[in-house]
Amino acid sequence: MLEKGTKAPDFELNATPDQKIKLTDFLGKNVILAFYPADWSPVCSDQMALYNEMLKYFSKHDAQIFGISVDSVWCHLAFEKDRNLHFPLLADFEPKGAVSKAYGVYDEGVGESKRALFVIDKEGEIAWSYLSPTAVNPGADGILDALEALDKK
């Protein structure tokens, strides 16, 4: 997986059927990327529910969070609606897993993203990355530590 100090590979992914998110449009803002295996699976759901509660803490650090999995936009929309999520989920759907692969966090065996976190600074450089065991929800303390370190720079 890509490590601290690497330039974050740019991407453009659909958040909804007619809205695309381009990473470089967020230069000047801190960005959190949360790659996760799949919508609806129990651990991911807890993880996304936690980040959903954390949005005001993230915005204190001028950070925008995106969830990324290989699910389609329609699946993401249904999942967001069901769980009342207030941040974008991006579809790494076609070509499947291309962005996950670029960040080195694609699991070829199961065809899903691994559970991985990246904090990208305002210049578009990776400031922190973390690969979690797939079955373990990594929580949010590592993200906050990384954002606090960036605030001090």
Partner: protein, 172 residues
């Protein structure tokens, strides 16, 4: 391993002896079904291990997932101002199946609170702040879902039943 941050202080709600050898901290949400399942098991742990256990509860309401979790946490903290945190905590879990906005006043009455004071305290900034401080401490401590347990300051990876088992094995 994730550590409890900050450590247990006198601001926390604790049940048991302060100098007990085992301090268990639970981060819980009153509307979370898994926390509801853990509630009787925690009671059993407290009964089985008695003076060896100091049990602390901190609020971790997932407001977006559970609309009554935050107001329930407020109700427990407001009850605490009349010295009845645990009575409200227990009543909330015992009535979790019918949690709604009318339940808080009813429970306040059942456990013998001064209702006017309870209602006034429920709107206080300090009460809201206590719940938010608990939530933030949970995030910093690596809480990744509810309930999350800490044993003597270290995150315990497991449910209440696993905790019971672990304690049983370690005290045998």
């Amino acid at each position: 391993m994730s550590k409890l941050k900050p450590e247990v202080t006198e601001k926390d709600h604790a049940q048991g002896k302060q100098n007990a050898p085992i301090t268990i901290v639970e981060y819980g949400d009153y509307q979370c079904p898994y926390c509801g399942d853990a509630y009787p098991i925690v009671k059993e742990i407290e009964e089985t291990f008695g003076d060896q256990i100091n049990f602390v509860f901190r609020n971790f309401p997932l407001q977006e997932a559970h609309p009554f979790a935050f107001p329930a946490a407020i109700a427990a903290e407001a009850a605490a101002l009349q010295g009845k945190f645990w009575e409200m905590h227990d009543a909330l879990y015992e009535n979790q199946y019918r949690l709604d906005e009318d339940l808080f006043d009813e429970l306040a009455e059942t456990i013998g609170l001064d209702i006017e004071k309870f209602q006034a305290d429920s709107t206080k900034v300090e009460v809201k702040q206590k719940v938010e401080d608990d939530f933030q401490s949970g995030v910093r401590s690596g809480v990744n879902g509810t309930p999350s347990f800490y044993v003597n300051g270290n995150k315990f990876d497991g449910a209440a039943t696993d905790l019971y088992q672990m304690l049983k094995e370690s005290t045998e």
